[in-house]
C-alpha cells in the first residue's frame, strides 16, 4: 500500500460521515428555508415581523449582558487565582469549572432551585422573590454556564504573561491599579475578545436552559423550537436557524482568530 492510498484510507471515514451528516443536511436546511411561499424573501420577513425582530433583539441584549458580566467576574476571579496560591485554591478552581459538563437543562434546574417558586431565595427572604422564570433567571442561567468557559480562557492566557512585565512596571513606580490597566488587561485583551465571543455565541444558541426555565421571554432558539414543533413552520424555523448559525459561527471565527482553543458552544 502506498502512502497516498493510506492517506486516502485515513480520510475515508471522515469524508463519508461529514458529507452524509453535516454537509448535505446543512445544504438541505438552507434550501428548506427558501421553500415557503415567500421564497428567499423569508429572510426579509424576519426583519419585517416585529415578533421575530424583538426576539432577535432580546437574544442579543441578554447575550451581550451575560458576556459583559461573565468577562468581569471571570477576569477578576481568574487573575486572582493565577496570582495567588493559597490553601483551598484548587477547591475554588474545581468549583468554578464544575458547570463545564452540565447540560443546559441542568443549569436551568439550578436556577429554579435558586430563584424558582420553591427556590432558596424565596424561602429565605420575606415576600415573593421568584426570578427564575423572568429575564433575570435567563440571565443568571446563561451566566452560570458562561463563567467557567471564560474563566478557563482567561486563566490560560494569564498564566502565559511574563511575570517580569508586572515586576518591570513596579520598578518604574506603577501602582497595583495601573499594573492592571497598563500591563495585565492589554496582555489579556486577545483572550478577553476570544472568551467574550465564545460566551456571546454560547448564550445566543443556548436552548436547554431557556427550555427548562420555560420563561415568558422569547429567545431565538425557543422561537425556532416552537416554530418547528408547534407551528410546523419548517421554512421559518430553518431560516431562523440559518441566521442563528451564521451569527454564532461568525463569533467563534473571531474567537478562533484570537486564541485558537476549542471550546464547546453547548448550554
Amino acid at each position: 500500500m502506498t502512502q497516498r492510498h493510506f492517506i486516502s484510507l485515513c480520510l475515508l471515514p471522515l469524508a463519508i460521515f461529514t458529507l452524509a451528516f453535516l454537509a448535505i443536511p446543512l445544504g438541505r436546511l438552507i434550501l428548506a428555508s427558501g421553500e415557503s411561499e415567500a421564497g428567499w424573501g423569508i429572510y426579509l420577513q424576519i426583519l419585517q415581523t416585529p415578533r421575530y425582530l424583538s426576539t432577535l433583539g432580546q437574544t442579543v441584549v441578554v447575550s451581550l449582558a451575560v458576556t459583559v458580566a461573565a468577562l468581569a467576574i471571570s477576569t477578576t476571579a481568574g487573575l486572582y487565582l493565577v496570582r495567588n496560591h493559597f490553601p483551598g485554591r484548587n477547591v475554588l478552581l474545581s468549583i468554578l469549572t464544575l458547570p463545564l459538563a452540565f447540560p443546559g437543562v441542568v443549569v436551568g434546574f439550578m436556577i429554579i432551585l435558586l430563584g424558582g417558586r420553591q427556590g432558596l431565595v424565596n424561602q429565605l427572604l420575606p415576600g415573593y422573590w421568584v426570578f427564575a422564570y423572568s429575564i433575570i433567571g435567563l440571565f443568571l442561567g446563561y451566566l452560570y454556564f458562561s463563567i467557567p468557559r471564560v474563566l478557563l480562557t482567561v486563566m490560560a492566557a494569564a498564566e502565559k504573561i511574563d511575570p517580569a512585565l508586572e515586576e518591570a512596571a513596579r520598578t518604574l513606580g506603577a501602582s497595583p491599579w495601573r499594573i492592571v490597566t497598563d500591563v495585565l488587561l492589554p496582555a489579556l485583551a486577545p483572550a478577553l475578545i476570544a472568551a467574550g465571543a465564545i460566551a456571546f455565541a454560547t448564550a445566543m444558541g443556548a436552548f436547554g436552559t431557556a427550555f427548562t426555565l420555560a420563561t415568558d421571554i422569547d429567545v431565538l432558539p425557543m422561537v425556532i423550537y416552537t416554530e418547528f414543533t408547534l407551528s410546523a413552520n419548517i421554512a421559518m424555523a430553518s431560516a431562523l436557524s440559518v441566521v442563528l448559525g451564521l451569527v454564532t459561527w461568525a463569533m467563534l471565527l473571531i474567537a478562533r482568530s484570537f486564541s485558537g482553543g476549542a471550546v464547546a458552544a453547548g448550554g
Binding site: 492517506i7 485515513c10 461529514t18 446543512l26 467576574i73 468549583i95 420553591q118 497595583p176 467563534l252
Partner: protein, 263 residues
C-alpha cells in the same frame, strides 16, 4: 486603602462566583436525599427518591452510557486517522477541512438537529433507532477528538519520527500503528474522556432527535424537571452529578497531562 481594594475585592468576587455556582448544586444534592424538601433536613434523610429514579429512569442511564461508548468508538475510528492526515499535511485545504468539521462547535445543536431531521426524518428505520441520536453525538463530539489528537501530533516532530520508521522499513500502515498512535496517546486519552463527558451531557441535539422510547439521561432530566416532584428531579440530578463529575475531573487531568507533554 488601595491595597485593601486590590486584594480583597477580587477575593470577594471569586468567593461569590463560587457560591453562585455551588449553592444550587448543594441544594439539589440535599433535596434528592431528604424526605420532604420543604420541611427541610428535619424530615429526615432517605434514599427512596434515588430508588424511584432508578425505577423510572434506569433505561435512560443505560442508553446514555451505551451512546457514550459507541460515540467514543465512532470518534476514534473517524477522528484519529483524520487528525493524522491533518497533522501530516498542514496547509490551506486541511485548514478548511478542520474548520468545516468544527462547524458543530459553532452552530447551535438545535440548528444541526433541524438539518438532520429534514434530511433523514422520513427514513423510518433510521429516524426511530438509537443510531440517529448517535449521529448527532458523533457530529458534536468529533471536533474535540480531532483537535485533541491534532494538537499533540502537531507538537511532536511527526515527520522525522515517520521518516525514521520508514528508513527502518515500516510501511504507512505499520508506521501509523507503531509510531503515530502511541505518540498521540495522551491526546487520544484526553479526547476520549472529553467525548464521553460531552456525550453523556448532550441535550440540545438529543432533545430534537430522540423519540419517546429513546430517552437519554439529559432528556430524562428535562422530563423530570417538567413533570416530577422536586425531590425526584433532584435525586435524578444527583445521579447525573455522580456520573459526570468524576468524568469531568478525569478529562481535566488528561487534558492537563497532554498539555504538559506537548511542552
Amino acid at each position: 486603602m488601595m491595597r485593601l481594594i486590590t486584594r480583597h475585592v477580587p477575593l470577594a468576587v471569586t468567593l461569590l462566583a463560587c457560591a453562585f455556582l455551588l449553592i444550587p448544586i448543594i441544594q439539589s444534592i440535599l433535596a434528592g436525599l431528604t424526605v420532604n424538601y420543604f420541611r427541610g433536613l428535619s424530615s429526615g434523610l432517605t434514599l427512596k427518591w434515588i430508588v424511584q429514579v432508578w425505577e423510572l429512569y434506569s433505561d435512560s442511564i443505560f442508553l446514555s452510557i451505551w451512546l457514550a461508548l459507541t460515540c467514543l468508538a465512532a470518534t476514534l475510528v473517524i477522528g484519529v486517522p483524520a487528525a493524522y492526515v491533518l497533522a501530516r499535511n498542514p496547509g490551506r485545504i486541511t485548514r478548511v477541512l478542520e474548520e468545516f468539521i468544527s462547524l458543530p462547535l459553532a452552530i447551535p445543536g438545535l440548528a444541526l438537529a433541524l438539518a438532520l431531521l429534514q434530511l433523514y426524518g422520513t427514513v423510518q428505520g433510521f429516524r426511530t433507532s438509537w443510531t440517529f441520536i448517535l449521529v448527532g453525538h458523533v457530529l458534536y463530539t468529533l471536533p474535540f477528538m480531532v483537535r485533541s489528537v491534532l494538537s499533540v501530533l502537531a507538537a511532536i516532530d511527526l515527520r522525522t519520527l515517520e521518516e525514521g520508521a520508514a528508513s527502518l522499513g515500516a510501511g504507512p500502515a505499520r508506521r501509523f500503528v507503531d509510531v503515530v498512535v502511541p505518540n498521540a496517546m495522551p491526546g487520544i486519552l484526553a479526547g476520549a474522556l472529553t467525548v464521553v463527558t460531552l456525550s453523556i451531557g448532550e441535550f440540545n441535539l438529543t432533545w430534537m432527535l430522540h423519540t419517546p422510547y429513546l430517552k437519554t439521561l439529559p432528556v430524562g432530566l428535562a422530563d423530570s424537571y417538567a413533570s416530577m416532584r422536586l425531590e425526584v428531579a433532584s435525586a435524578y440530578t444527583l445521579v447525573f452529578f455522580v456520573m459526570i463529575v468524576p468524568l469531568l475531573m478525569a478529562m481535566q487531568w488528561a487534558s492537563a497531562r497532554a498539555q504538559r507533554i506537548m511542552q
